[in-house]
Protein backbone atom coordinates (compact mmCIF):
# COMPACT_ATOMS: atom_id res chain seq x y z
CA UNK A 1 0.00 0.00 0.00
CA UNK A 2 1.33 3.48 -0.79
CA UNK A 3 1.42 6.23 1.83
CA UNK A 4 -1.74 7.95 0.59
CA UNK A 5 -3.65 4.69 0.80
CA UNK A 6 -2.30 4.02 4.25
CA UNK A 7 -3.19 7.49 5.42
CA UNK A 8 -6.72 7.10 4.14
CA UNK A 9 -7.04 3.76 5.91
CA UNK A 10 -5.58 5.33 9.08
CA UNK A 11 -8.12 8.16 9.04
CA UNK A 12 -10.91 5.65 8.44
CA UNK A 13 -9.86 3.74 11.55
CA UNK A 14 -9.85 6.99 13.56
CA UNK A 15 -13.28 7.96 12.20
CA UNK A 16 -14.60 4.53 13.19
CA UNK A 17 -13.51 5.25 16.76
CA UNK A 18 -10.67 2.72 16.76
CA UNK A 19 -7.63 3.28 18.95
CA UNK A 20 -4.15 3.39 17.49
CA UNK A 21 -1.52 1.22 19.20
CA UNK A 22 2.30 1.57 19.13
CA UNK A 23 3.00 -1.02 16.44
CA UNK A 24 0.26 0.21 14.09
CA UNK A 25 1.18 2.22 11.05
CA UNK A 26 0.69 5.94 11.63
CA UNK A 27 1.52 9.06 9.62
CA UNK A 28 4.79 10.72 10.62
CA UNK A 29 2.94 13.92 11.40
CA UNK A 30 0.67 12.07 13.86
CA UNK A 31 3.67 10.57 15.60
CA UNK A 32 5.45 13.94 15.73
CA UNK A 33 2.41 15.77 17.11
CA UNK A 34 1.94 13.14 19.81
CA UNK A 35 5.60 13.23 20.82
CA UNK A 36 5.38 17.02 21.06
CA UNK A 37 2.17 17.02 23.06
CA UNK A 38 2.89 14.08 25.34
CA UNK A 39 6.44 15.11 26.14
CA UNK A 40 5.29 18.64 27.03
CA UNK A 41 2.68 17.04 29.24
CA UNK A 42 5.29 14.80 30.92
CA UNK A 43 7.64 17.75 31.49
CA UNK A 44 4.75 19.73 32.98
CA UNK A 45 4.10 17.01 35.55
CA UNK A 46 7.74 16.96 36.55
CA UNK A 47 8.32 20.73 36.64
CA UNK A 48 4.91 21.04 38.32
CA UNK A 49 6.38 19.49 41.46
CA UNK A 50 8.56 22.54 42.04
CA UNK A 51 6.08 25.33 42.91
CA UNK A 52 4.41 23.07 45.47
CA UNK A 53 7.63 21.48 46.72
CA UNK A 54 8.43 25.02 47.82
CA UNK A 55 5.77 24.77 50.54
CA UNK A 56 6.18 21.23 51.87
CA UNK A 57 8.40 22.29 54.76
CA UNK A 58 6.09 25.18 55.64
CA UNK A 59 2.70 23.47 55.47
CA UNK A 60 0.59 24.76 58.37
CA UNK A 61 -0.21 21.34 59.87
CA UNK A 62 0.89 17.73 59.68
CA UNK A 63 -2.32 16.86 57.85
CA UNK A 64 -1.65 19.47 55.16
CA UNK A 65 1.96 18.39 54.91
CA UNK A 66 1.03 14.73 54.34
CA UNK A 67 -1.48 15.73 51.70
CA UNK A 68 0.98 17.98 49.88
CA UNK A 69 3.69 15.31 49.95
CA UNK A 70 1.28 12.76 48.51
CA UNK A 71 0.20 15.17 45.80
CA UNK A 72 3.75 16.03 44.77
CA UNK A 73 4.61 12.33 44.73
CA UNK A 74 1.64 11.77 42.42
CA UNK A 75 2.97 14.38 40.00
CA UNK A 76 6.27 12.48 39.80
CA UNK A 77 4.35 9.28 39.06
CA UNK A 78 2.30 11.05 36.41
CA UNK A 79 5.49 12.24 34.76
CA UNK A 80 6.62 8.61 34.64
CA UNK A 81 3.36 7.35 33.11
CA UNK A 82 3.65 9.97 30.42
CA UNK A 83 7.34 9.45 29.63
CA UNK A 84 6.60 5.71 29.30
CA UNK A 85 3.74 6.48 26.96
CA UNK A 86 5.95 8.74 24.79
CA UNK A 87 8.58 6.01 24.67
CA UNK A 88 6.11 3.77 22.84
CA UNK A 89 6.50 6.22 19.94
CA UNK A 90 10.20 5.44 19.63
CA UNK A 91 11.75 8.30 21.61
CA UNK A 92 13.87 7.55 24.66
CA UNK A 93 13.24 9.14 28.01
CA UNK A 94 16.87 10.22 28.09
CA UNK A 95 16.41 12.31 24.94
CA UNK A 96 13.31 13.93 26.37
CA UNK A 97 14.94 14.79 29.69
CA UNK A 98 18.01 16.14 27.89
CA UNK A 99 15.74 18.42 25.86
CA UNK A 100 14.09 19.66 29.04
CA UNK A 101 17.35 20.28 30.90
CA UNK A 102 18.85 22.01 27.86
CA UNK A 103 15.91 24.43 27.89
CA UNK A 104 14.69 23.33 24.44
CA UNK A 105 11.48 21.62 25.57
CA UNK A 106 8.29 23.36 26.56
CA UNK A 107 6.23 22.71 29.64
CA UNK A 108 3.10 24.40 30.92
CA UNK A 109 3.86 28.07 31.53
CA UNK A 110 1.73 28.10 34.66
CA UNK A 111 4.67 26.64 36.57
CA UNK A 112 6.78 29.68 35.84
CA UNK A 113 4.71 31.72 38.27
CA UNK A 114 5.95 31.94 41.89
CA UNK A 115 4.10 30.50 44.91
CA UNK A 116 4.10 33.40 47.35
CA UNK A 117 1.86 32.22 50.18
CA UNK A 118 0.27 29.08 51.60
CA UNK A 119 -2.97 30.03 49.89
CA UNK A 120 -1.22 29.43 46.56
CA UNK A 121 -1.29 25.71 47.40
CA UNK A 122 -5.05 26.03 47.54
CA UNK A 123 -5.26 28.03 44.31
CA UNK A 124 -2.99 25.61 42.44
CA UNK A 125 -4.97 22.54 43.50
CA UNK A 126 -8.33 24.14 42.88
CA UNK A 127 -7.57 26.05 39.67
CA UNK A 128 -4.48 24.56 38.04
CA UNK A 129 -5.30 20.93 38.79
CA UNK A 130 -8.97 21.64 38.14
CA UNK A 131 -8.08 22.94 34.68
CA UNK A 132 -5.70 20.07 34.02
CA UNK A 133 -8.37 17.52 34.94
CA UNK A 134 -10.75 18.89 32.27
CA UNK A 135 -8.07 18.66 29.61
CA UNK A 136 -7.06 15.20 30.77
CA UNK A 137 -10.64 13.97 30.95
CA UNK A 138 -10.95 14.85 27.28
CA UNK A 139 -7.66 13.05 26.57
CA UNK A 140 -8.92 9.77 28.07
CA UNK A 141 -10.74 9.48 24.72
CA UNK A 142 -7.59 10.22 22.71
CA UNK A 143 -7.08 8.07 19.62
CA UNK A 144 -3.60 6.99 20.75
CA UNK A 145 -4.08 4.05 23.13
CA UNK A 146 -1.08 4.47 25.47
CA UNK A 147 -1.81 8.19 25.96
CA UNK A 148 -5.49 7.54 26.66
CA UNK A 149 -4.67 4.80 29.18
CA UNK A 150 -2.17 7.01 31.00
CA UNK A 151 -4.88 9.68 31.22
CA UNK A 152 -7.40 7.31 32.77
CA UNK A 153 -4.92 6.50 35.50
CA UNK A 154 -3.99 10.14 36.04
CA UNK A 155 -7.58 11.38 36.18
CA UNK A 156 -8.44 8.78 38.80
CA UNK A 157 -5.56 9.95 40.98
CA UNK A 158 -5.85 13.64 40.37
CA UNK A 159 -9.36 14.10 41.65
CA UNK A 160 -8.10 14.54 45.19
CA UNK A 161 -5.64 17.21 44.07
CA UNK A 162 -8.44 19.51 43.06
CA UNK A 163 -10.49 18.69 46.16
CA UNK A 164 -7.71 19.36 48.65
CA UNK A 165 -7.00 22.69 46.92
CA UNK A 166 -10.61 23.79 47.10
CA UNK A 167 -10.70 22.76 50.75
CA UNK A 168 -7.65 24.93 51.53
CA UNK A 169 -9.32 27.89 49.80
CA UNK A 170 -12.66 27.34 51.53
CA UNK A 171 -11.02 27.13 54.97
CA UNK A 172 -8.97 30.29 54.40
CA UNK A 173 -11.94 32.15 52.93
CA UNK A 174 -13.91 31.38 56.09
CA UNK A 175 -11.02 32.34 58.38
CA UNK A 176 -9.63 35.58 59.83
CA UNK A 177 -9.56 38.74 57.66
CA UNK A 178 -5.86 38.13 57.01
CA UNK A 179 -6.49 34.52 55.90
CA UNK A 180 -9.34 35.67 53.70
CA UNK A 181 -7.12 38.30 52.09
CA UNK A 182 -4.49 35.64 51.48
CA UNK A 183 -7.00 33.43 49.68
CA UNK A 184 -8.30 36.33 47.59
CA UNK A 185 -4.78 37.38 46.63
CA UNK A 186 -4.00 33.83 45.50
CA UNK A 187 -7.14 33.74 43.36
CA UNK A 188 -6.26 37.16 41.93
CA UNK A 189 -2.82 35.98 40.87
CA UNK A 190 -3.72 32.49 39.58
CA UNK A 191 -7.03 33.13 37.79
CA UNK A 192 -5.74 34.58 34.53
CA UNK A 193 -2.68 32.34 34.15
CA UNK A 194 -5.01 29.35 34.68
CA UNK A 195 -7.28 30.50 31.86
CA UNK A 196 -4.18 30.74 29.65
CA UNK A 197 -3.31 27.09 30.40
CA UNK A 198 -5.83 25.96 27.79
CA UNK A 199 -3.69 27.55 25.10
CA UNK A 200 -4.19 30.30 22.53
CA UNK A 201 -7.71 31.09 21.28
CA UNK A 202 -9.06 28.75 18.59
CA UNK A 203 -8.39 31.12 15.70
CA UNK A 204 -4.70 31.32 16.60
CA UNK A 205 -4.04 27.73 17.61
CA UNK A 206 -1.80 26.15 15.00
CA UNK A 207 -2.39 22.49 15.84
CA UNK A 208 -6.03 22.47 16.82
CA UNK A 209 -7.77 21.41 13.58
CA UNK A 210 -5.42 18.57 12.79
CA UNK A 211 -5.52 17.26 16.37
CA UNK A 212 -9.31 17.26 16.27
CA UNK A 213 -9.36 15.42 12.93
CA UNK A 214 -7.12 12.75 14.41
CA UNK A 215 -9.26 12.62 17.53
CA UNK A 216 -6.25 13.32 19.68
CA UNK A 217 -8.46 16.09 21.09
CA UNK A 218 -12.24 16.30 20.98
CA UNK A 219 -12.60 19.83 22.29
CA UNK A 220 -10.94 23.06 21.22
CA UNK A 221 -8.94 25.29 23.57
CA UNK A 222 -11.81 27.75 23.87
CA UNK A 223 -14.38 25.04 24.56
CA UNK A 224 -12.26 23.62 27.36
CA UNK A 225 -11.64 27.12 28.76
CA UNK A 226 -15.38 27.86 28.76
CA UNK A 227 -16.10 24.54 30.48
CA UNK A 228 -13.61 25.49 33.20
CA UNK A 229 -15.02 28.99 33.70
CA UNK A 230 -18.59 27.67 33.97
CA UNK A 231 -17.54 25.16 36.63
CA UNK A 232 -15.30 27.47 38.63
CA UNK A 233 -17.23 30.74 38.90
CA UNK A 234 -20.02 29.17 41.04
CA UNK A 235 -17.37 27.54 43.26
CA UNK A 236 -15.76 30.94 43.91
CA UNK A 237 -19.18 32.37 44.75
CA UNK A 238 -19.85 29.47 47.06
CA UNK A 239 -16.82 30.27 49.23
CA UNK A 240 -17.27 34.02 48.90
CA UNK A 241 -14.21 34.90 46.84
CA UNK A 242 -14.29 37.36 43.93
CA UNK A 243 -13.08 36.38 40.45
CA UNK A 244 -10.67 39.18 39.45
CA UNK A 245 -12.51 40.12 36.27
CA UNK A 246 -14.72 43.25 36.25
CA UNK A 247 -16.22 42.19 32.91
CA UNK A 248 -17.26 38.72 34.05
CA UNK A 249 -20.98 38.21 33.47
CA UNK A 250 -23.51 35.44 33.10
CA UNK A 251 -25.00 35.28 29.62
CA UNK A 252 -28.60 34.10 29.91
CA UNK A 253 -28.90 33.32 26.19
CA UNK A 254 -26.00 30.87 26.04
CA UNK A 255 -26.04 29.81 29.68
CA UNK A 256 -22.31 30.56 29.95
CA UNK A 257 -20.15 32.77 32.12
CA UNK A 258 -18.34 35.19 29.80
CA UNK A 259 -14.97 36.59 30.81
CA UNK A 260 -13.22 39.79 29.83
CA UNK A 261 -10.30 39.66 27.37
CA UNK A 262 -7.27 37.52 28.23
CA UNK A 263 -3.86 39.20 28.06
CA UNK A 264 -2.23 37.01 25.42
CA UNK A 265 0.89 39.18 25.38
CA UNK A 266 1.59 38.00 28.90
CA UNK A 267 1.02 34.39 27.83
CA UNK A 268 3.55 34.61 24.99
CA UNK A 269 6.04 36.49 27.15
CA UNK A 270 6.02 33.67 29.74
CA UNK A 271 6.09 30.93 27.08
CA UNK A 272 9.18 32.58 25.59
CA UNK A 273 11.00 32.48 28.91
CA UNK A 274 10.04 35.84 30.40
CA UNK A 275 8.15 34.49 33.42
CA UNK A 276 9.31 35.09 36.98
CA UNK A 277 10.58 31.55 37.55
CA UNK A 278 11.61 30.08 34.16
CA UNK A 279 15.32 30.04 35.02
CA UNK A 280 14.76 28.88 38.59
CA UNK A 281 12.70 25.91 37.51
CA UNK A 282 15.30 24.59 35.08
CA UNK A 283 18.11 25.11 37.57
CA UNK A 284 16.15 23.17 40.19
CA UNK A 285 15.56 20.32 37.71
CA UNK A 286 19.22 20.23 36.75
CA UNK A 287 20.25 20.16 40.42
CA UNK A 288 17.84 17.31 41.19
CA UNK A 289 19.14 15.39 38.17
CA UNK A 290 22.77 15.85 39.24
CA UNK A 291 22.09 15.10 42.90
CA UNK A 292 20.34 11.86 41.99
CA UNK A 293 23.19 10.59 39.86
CA UNK A 294 24.86 8.60 42.64
CA UNK A 295 21.60 6.74 43.28
CA UNK A 296 21.34 5.72 39.63
CA UNK A 297 24.98 4.64 39.61
CA UNK A 298 24.61 2.62 42.82
CA UNK A 299 21.51 0.83 41.50
CA UNK A 300 23.31 0.02 38.27
CA UNK A 301 26.43 -1.28 40.09
CA UNK A 302 24.29 -3.45 42.37
CA UNK A 303 22.37 -4.95 39.46
CA UNK A 304 25.59 -5.65 37.58
CA UNK A 305 27.14 -7.41 40.57
CA UNK A 306 24.11 -9.67 40.91
CA UNK A 307 24.01 -10.52 37.21
CA UNK A 308 27.52 -11.98 37.29
Amino acid sequence: MDDAGREERFQARIDAGERIEPKDWMPDAYRRQLVRMMSQHAHSEVVGMLPEGNWITRAPSLRRKQILLAKVQDEAGHGLYLYSAVETLGVSREELIDELLAGRAKYSSIFNYPTLSWADMGAIGWLVDGAAILNQTMLTKCSYGPYARAMVRICKEERFHEKQGFEIMAVLAAGTPAQRAMAQSALDRWWWPTLMMFGPPDGESTHNDQLMRWRVKQKSNDELRQWFVDLTVPQAQQIGLAIPDPELRFDEASGHWLTGPIDWDEFWRVVRGGGTCNRDRLEARQRAHDDGRWVREAAEAYAKKHRT
Binding site: E21, K23, D24, W25, Q73, D74, G77, L80, Y81, S84, A85, E87, S92, R93, E94, I97, R149, A150, R153, E157, R293, R296, E297, A299, E300, A301, Y302, A303, K304, H306, R307
Partner: protein, 103 residues
Protein backbone atom coordinates in the same frame (compact mmCIF):
# COMPACT_ATOMS: atom_id res chain seq x y z
CA UNK B 1 29.68 2.72 33.53
CA UNK B 2 30.39 6.41 33.10
CA UNK B 3 28.58 9.10 35.05
CA UNK B 4 26.98 10.26 31.82
CA UNK B 5 25.33 6.92 31.13
CA UNK B 6 21.61 7.71 31.11
CA UNK B 7 18.83 6.03 33.07
CA UNK B 8 17.08 4.81 29.98
CA UNK B 9 19.92 2.42 29.28
CA UNK B 10 18.21 0.41 31.97
CA UNK B 11 15.90 -2.22 30.58
CA UNK B 12 12.23 -1.51 30.19
CA UNK B 13 9.82 -3.53 32.36
CA UNK B 14 6.11 -4.04 31.95
CA UNK B 15 4.01 -3.93 35.10
CA UNK B 16 0.92 -6.06 35.74
CA UNK B 17 -1.39 -5.39 38.65
CA UNK B 18 -3.97 -7.64 40.31
CA UNK B 19 -6.53 -5.61 42.21
CA UNK B 20 -8.11 -8.44 44.15
CA UNK B 21 -7.70 -12.19 44.38
CA UNK B 22 -9.52 -13.94 41.59
CA UNK B 23 -9.04 -11.02 39.19
CA UNK B 24 -6.64 -11.29 36.27
CA UNK B 25 -3.33 -9.41 36.38
CA UNK B 26 -3.81 -6.41 34.13
CA UNK B 27 -1.18 -4.41 32.33
CA UNK B 28 -0.76 -1.11 34.21
CA UNK B 29 2.20 0.48 32.42
CA UNK B 30 5.96 0.30 32.21
CA UNK B 31 9.10 1.61 33.84
CA UNK B 32 12.89 1.43 33.59
CA UNK B 33 14.88 -0.43 36.23
CA UNK B 34 18.30 -2.07 36.44
CA UNK B 35 16.96 -5.37 37.85
CA UNK B 36 13.81 -7.20 38.86
CA UNK B 37 14.05 -6.27 42.52
CA UNK B 38 14.16 -2.54 41.82
CA UNK B 39 11.57 -2.89 39.07
CA UNK B 40 9.21 -4.41 41.62
CA UNK B 41 9.90 -1.65 44.15
CA UNK B 42 9.38 1.07 41.57
CA UNK B 43 6.20 -0.66 40.39
CA UNK B 44 4.95 -0.63 43.98
CA UNK B 45 5.73 3.09 44.32
CA UNK B 46 4.25 4.08 40.98
CA UNK B 47 1.43 1.66 40.17
CA UNK B 48 0.28 0.51 43.61
CA UNK B 49 0.45 3.76 45.53
CA UNK B 50 -3.24 3.60 46.25
CA UNK B 51 -4.97 0.32 46.82
CA UNK B 52 -6.46 -1.98 46.18
CA UNK B 53 -3.58 -4.06 44.85
CA UNK B 54 -2.91 -7.60 46.07
CA UNK B 55 -0.22 -8.71 43.63
CA UNK B 56 2.30 -7.24 41.19
CA UNK B 57 4.17 -8.81 38.28
CA UNK B 58 7.06 -7.23 36.42
CA UNK B 59 8.55 -8.66 33.26
CA UNK B 60 11.27 -7.31 31.03
CA UNK B 61 9.56 -5.95 27.94
CA UNK B 62 11.97 -7.71 25.57
CA UNK B 63 10.73 -11.09 26.84
CA UNK B 64 7.21 -10.42 25.65
CA UNK B 65 6.43 -12.06 22.32
CA UNK B 66 3.52 -10.47 20.56
CA UNK B 67 1.66 -10.42 17.28
CA UNK B 68 2.29 -7.58 14.86
CA UNK B 69 -0.48 -5.58 13.19
CA UNK B 70 0.68 -6.97 9.82
CA UNK B 71 0.29 -10.62 10.71
CA UNK B 72 -2.52 -10.44 13.23
CA UNK B 73 -5.57 -10.44 10.89
CA UNK B 74 -4.73 -13.84 9.41
CA UNK B 75 -3.12 -15.14 12.59
CA UNK B 76 -6.11 -14.23 14.71
CA UNK B 77 -8.72 -15.18 12.12
CA UNK B 78 -11.47 -16.71 14.23
CA UNK B 79 -12.55 -19.19 11.56
CA UNK B 80 -16.06 -18.18 10.53
CA UNK B 81 -16.65 -21.71 9.27
CA UNK B 82 -16.43 -22.98 12.84
CA UNK B 83 -19.62 -21.40 13.95
CA UNK B 84 -20.49 -24.53 15.94
CA UNK B 85 -18.20 -23.06 18.61
CA UNK B 86 -20.91 -20.55 19.44
CA UNK B 87 -24.09 -21.37 21.34
CA UNK B 88 -26.09 -19.48 18.70
CA UNK B 89 -25.32 -22.31 16.26
CA UNK B 90 -27.64 -24.67 18.07
CA UNK B 91 -31.36 -24.93 17.72
CA UNK B 92 -33.46 -26.63 20.28
CA UNK B 93 -36.83 -26.24 21.83
CA UNK B 94 -36.84 -22.63 23.11
CA UNK B 95 -39.15 -23.38 25.96
CA UNK B 96 -36.74 -25.56 27.93
CA UNK B 97 -34.91 -23.57 30.54
CA UNK B 98 -31.21 -24.27 30.54
CA UNK B 99 -30.35 -24.83 34.18
CA UNK B 100 -26.67 -24.00 33.64
CA UNK B 101 -27.49 -20.52 32.41
CA UNK B 102 -27.17 -17.63 34.82
CA UNK B 103 -30.47 -16.33 36.05
Amino acid sequence: MSAEQPDSQWPLWEVFVQEKTGDPHEHAGSLHAPDGELALQAARDVYARRGPVVSLWVVESEHIVSTTPADSPSFLEPGPEKIYRHPRFYTGPRSTKNTARKK
